[in-house]
Symmetry: C5
Subunit: 99 residues, 5 copies
């Protein structure tokens, strides 16, 4: 899984039928300090993540292992909202601080 | 899924039998402002996407989760045509504007 | 799928039993003008592609969705020989010309 | 599989139900000398790896081939703790030395 | 599949139970001339490859399509030892020469 920040949303009316009802979140990868860096990706939302939240997303066939994405042409899913992470024993990101 | 623009088509007469009837779209990834950047990829079309449209495509085994691509040697599929997307609360792309 | 050119072959006598009878093609990715660029990859041949031909190849589990590669440890397959492609309405490659 | 070092942990209370009970390790890839380099990734822990340990992790659908990750939206798993590795006949990393 | 050279081995005693008995080879990708370049990866050995040999390895779910790796958290497998390869009609690597 990769750490990313929810930076926006993507809207599509004309899509594969099975994708109806799924919310598309626009994510951008973050570095270990929580700063946006690296690429952006669009992921289905399986946990009700909101704008600005730090999340974990899974890709590939693993992205279909949720009730919402099962058997759908979906290759990325937000499967966790991050509370905090630490590196070398130091808290590098904590939800609610410096978002 | 990744955001991309339909920039062309690929024609092939000699191909895996199961791929007959599939339309191959040539896509190029776009940045958050909708400008072409990054690599190109060839994807099967599952939604009737047209030239110049912004789309979402899925890769890997997820690309086979449509009626058109099921059990075929296809590793990328256009599964949604994008109406618009927003980043940090600002509309960055809207279909019909500045295409 | 990705566009590539057949630049050579790889020979192996000692290999996974299930791989016997498969031809290994050496491919190099091409840019939108058909010039070799980017990385090389080895793919099984499912369509009888020849040296110098432009092809499409699929990777991952999709590479096993052909009769020749089913249930084999093969993660890339040439599944189409390209006749031509166009970008922005212009033919960029046509088989038989400037090969 | 890739060689990586456990550099931290990620905590999430709001996540896909099936992910409960899994420990998320923050990994950073290492070069052949064991020095941190390259990207970071978050992987589920299947072997009880501790902070600072060198591990092997698997990605994609292979990351779901453990009892702990089966059928879960998990695309990376630590499946081995590394004792040592050698390159060109020379021990480059040995657990317990120069950690 | 990708061309690589066996440059070493990785030893692990504490690992996923299903991984017992598998040999972990340390590989480094090679360029078309057979020179080491690009990244390193750890792959299970399905063909008895030895130090210094040129091999082909497969990744992802395809890496589990061997008797030795079936249903195991293994995402890369050496499935062929290379005898030779040619590029543009010229032998670029031949086993036993200039190893």
């Amino acid at each position: 899984m990769l750490l990313a920040k929810v930076i926006g949303t993507v809207v599509s009316t004309r899509k594969e039928k099975s994708m109806e009802g799924l919310k598309f979140l626009l994510l951008r990868q973050v570095d270990l300090d929580g700063k946006e860096s690296g690429g952006h990706i669009v992921a289905a939302d399986a946990v009700g993540a909101g704008f600005g939240e730090m999340v974990l997303y899974a890709t590939g066939s693993s992205a279909r292992q949720t009730v919402m994405t099962d058997k759908r042409p979906c290759d990325a899913v937000v499967m966790a909202i991050v509370d905090n992470w630490e590196v070398d024993g130091e808290i590098k990101y904590k939800k609610g601080e410096s978002d």
